[in-house]
Symmetry: C2
């Protein structure tokens, strides 16, 4: 939309949001099967446009190389036929998920005969602000549309050509299947002021989902007037209890830290009980994977390769092959450390003691609490949700992996026969 | 706490919130029956302190008369033995409600054997900012504690003595029954900067519930960094459809507008279908109750006593014996008017046509949508929730009457047997 692009950011966002609202009202009333078919049509359009999307992606990669983007960033940005097929398959997967809209949460009849029904409805217009990965353009659009919401997408400038090509394909596929134009819109400017305008568009935009690093999250927290589905750091702890099985503790710690170090469910702080008899073997196993360890005094005494942890280390999300290691005196000490330093994402215990496991699961108040499993399972797919728009670390609305249900709200329908209140 | 009162507002709120957090962690682990008994003990303490509370209230009333508070405000402020007994009974009622904490929302087992359980937990530390009515001090504290939350209460300066006396009784009753000191705290200063500090205490306070008029709500929307359970105006519509029963339409319109004009569920705009044959009788019935009507041109032609509605009237919450009246051409025209002007609180249709009723219930996207009932039923008690902390007009977390469930969130518990992610 070349004309809109020339508008000041506030007016641009308002115009896009109102177009989105109009589309969303129609989308909200579409039958389940029509929404699902529209997503299948969008997946087909992604495949049809494969060559164009890959060509657009090549432009982004070339520009990124010129700008000297880090290799990890370029890898997140890069598409190839396999990754593109995975994006199309993910859209089809969302089409196959059960539609939460219209589900009855509860139904009661009051003594005066009024029938109260609490029913799931879409949230409305959702703004998604994200960085680098172009697959988010398709994933987020698919999840929003499946739950009857309109999506305003604001991707990172490094992926601008890829995002435009993916959005063009998705939108064509959706519109060809009866979804109104405007249900999915990529904000057509890279002006950073457009992000500010989106964050302040209370009344026009119903929810913001930020998917990005610390600077984005900090900006969102500072500026947002629209409710935000918060996603803070994943400063995740695994506590190896005195009664942990040796093999299990080592397998879980290595997997939680090293399987993929750059994801939000990765382990960042290992707490080892002072009574756990195999602590030296545990840290040795981690060191042998190539992980750098930073410990408190007692942890350092386990192995001379362990460096000293600074105060900040306990509050750091490394997203790298680095791990803080602390020695704690029993479960209460572990709980106190977690209470002080956890970001509320995913915290775990390894123990063969069922009482200790249950106490940990009850008392740790993070979005996800685990016993005897790797924190890398913190993922909507692994939770059986089929997909996710993010992992919420806030306390309201939705917590942990957020998929379709988290993209809905509810309303109360009251059916009467002329009742008046006395 | 005379020492704390001398702190700057930010430090004061931080100190109170940390004390609240410490107490809340203990409260969250208290068995259901202990929390219920503590509320019964608080109700008993309210009765024990009856004379002191009424004496404190007399001070507020005298100060309010001196300051020239309006009669309606003085009435909201005033306590007598009956009102005090009603406050104690309301606390006992909350004690008798089922505790949502610990309820399992869903439980699944994944193919790898991981067991996922989504379980209700308290939100944490909740700030409640309110005006005039001293009963909110007891109601809000009771609801928060019942669901395992700590409460930071900030009442209006006009009720300061009443609120302190009620808080002193409630807190003594709670602490005597094992609730930690600090679970309920009245902010001990009337400095308005304390409200600002509370609104900005992200990380220390988990949710803000504003209960007050437009100026409070506007301030909260502008300043809050803590998530807010929003409560906007109740610009509520009732649409009298062409097929409405004459007697029912009149009874509902009169009750919805005139039963109590000052509550948020009161009718503010009546939409009459141009095809409804008894429009003149309907407006006559309303005029005879003493209600002032402001209409569009077609409505004015029904009765010469109907004044002209200005553009602002359609967006005004009168909270008085004043009503906007518009004539609409069919249900789509009514839906369009409601979409443009409703505050999303409570909108209703009166019709004998079941298809029209269902279309309205589906398509109007307000927190509460009603067919053939008075909008004055918008109340947690009338919905069978036993109580309410407010009626949420936002779209996230909770909508409509909010009681105990809305004061909880959930976490995911994952139980494994050593699973690692491949």
């Amino acid at each position: 939309m070349p004309d809109d692009e020339a508008l000041p950011p506030e007016q641009l966002v308002t115009a896009l949001a109102r177009k989105a609202r109009t589309a969303q009202i129609v989308l909200a009333a579409m039958p389940d099967e029509d929404k699902a078919n529209a997503l299948r049509s969008a997946a087909a359009a992604l495949r049809e446009d494969g060559a164009a999307i890959l060509a657009a992606n090549a432009k982004d990669i070339a520009a990124g190389q010129e700008r000297g983007l880090a290799a990890a960033m370029l890898d997140r940005l890069a598409l190839d036929p396999d990754r593109l097929e995975a994006i199309a398959l993910a859209v089809e997967k969302v089409a196959s998920l059960p539609d939460p809209v219209g589900n009855v949460i509860e139904r009661t009849e009051q003594p005066n005969g009024l029938q109260m029904t609490r029913v799931r409805v879409p949230i409305g217009v959702i703004g998604i602000i994200y960085e680098s990965r172009p697959n988010v353009t398709a994933d987020a659009a698919a999840l929003c549309v499946r739950a009857g919401n309109a999506a305003l997408l604001r991707g990172g400038s490094e992926a601008v050509h890829s995002n435009r090509a993916i959005d063009a394909a998705m939108s064509r596929g959706l519109v060809n299947s009866g979804v109104p134009d405007g249900a999915v819109q990529l904000i057509p400017t890279q002006d950073r002021a457009a992000v500010g305008a989106l964050l302040k568009a209370a009344g026009e935009v119903d929810m913001i989902v930020p998917r990005g690093g610390k600077s984005l999250v900090a900006r969102v927290q500072e500026e947002a007037r629209v409710p935000v589905l918060a996603h803070l750091d994943g400063i995740n702890h695994t506590y190896v209890h005195a009664d942990a099985d040796k093999e299990m503790a080592e397998a879980i710690a290595v997997n939680a830290k090293m399987r993929r170090t750059g994801i939000c469910g990765a382990l960042e702080t290992l707490l080892i009980d002072a009574s756990y008899p195999h602590a030296a073997a545990l840290v040795n196993r981690l060191l042998e994977t190539g992980c750098q360890l930073r410990g408190d005094k007692r942890a350092q005494s386990l192995d001379q390769r362990i460096g000293a942890a600074s105060d900040e280390d306990w509050d750091t999300e490394y997203l790298d092959a680095v791990l803080s290691v602390g020695i704690v005196d029993g479960i209460d000490d572990a709980l106190a450390h977690i209470r002080r330093h956890s970001s509320g994402h995913t915290d775990a215990i390894v123990t063969a003691n069922a009482d200790a496991a249950e106490a940990f699961l009850q008392q740790v108040d993070s979005a996800i609490v685990m016993a005897n499993a790797s924190s890398q399972f913190a993922d909507g797919g692994e939770f059986g949700l089929g997909a996710e728009i993010g992992i919420a670390t806030g306390r309201l609305h939705a917590r942990g992996p957020v998929a379709l249900e988290g993209l809905t709200t509810y309303k109360w329908q009251v059916r009467g026969t002329g009742q008046v209140r006395s």
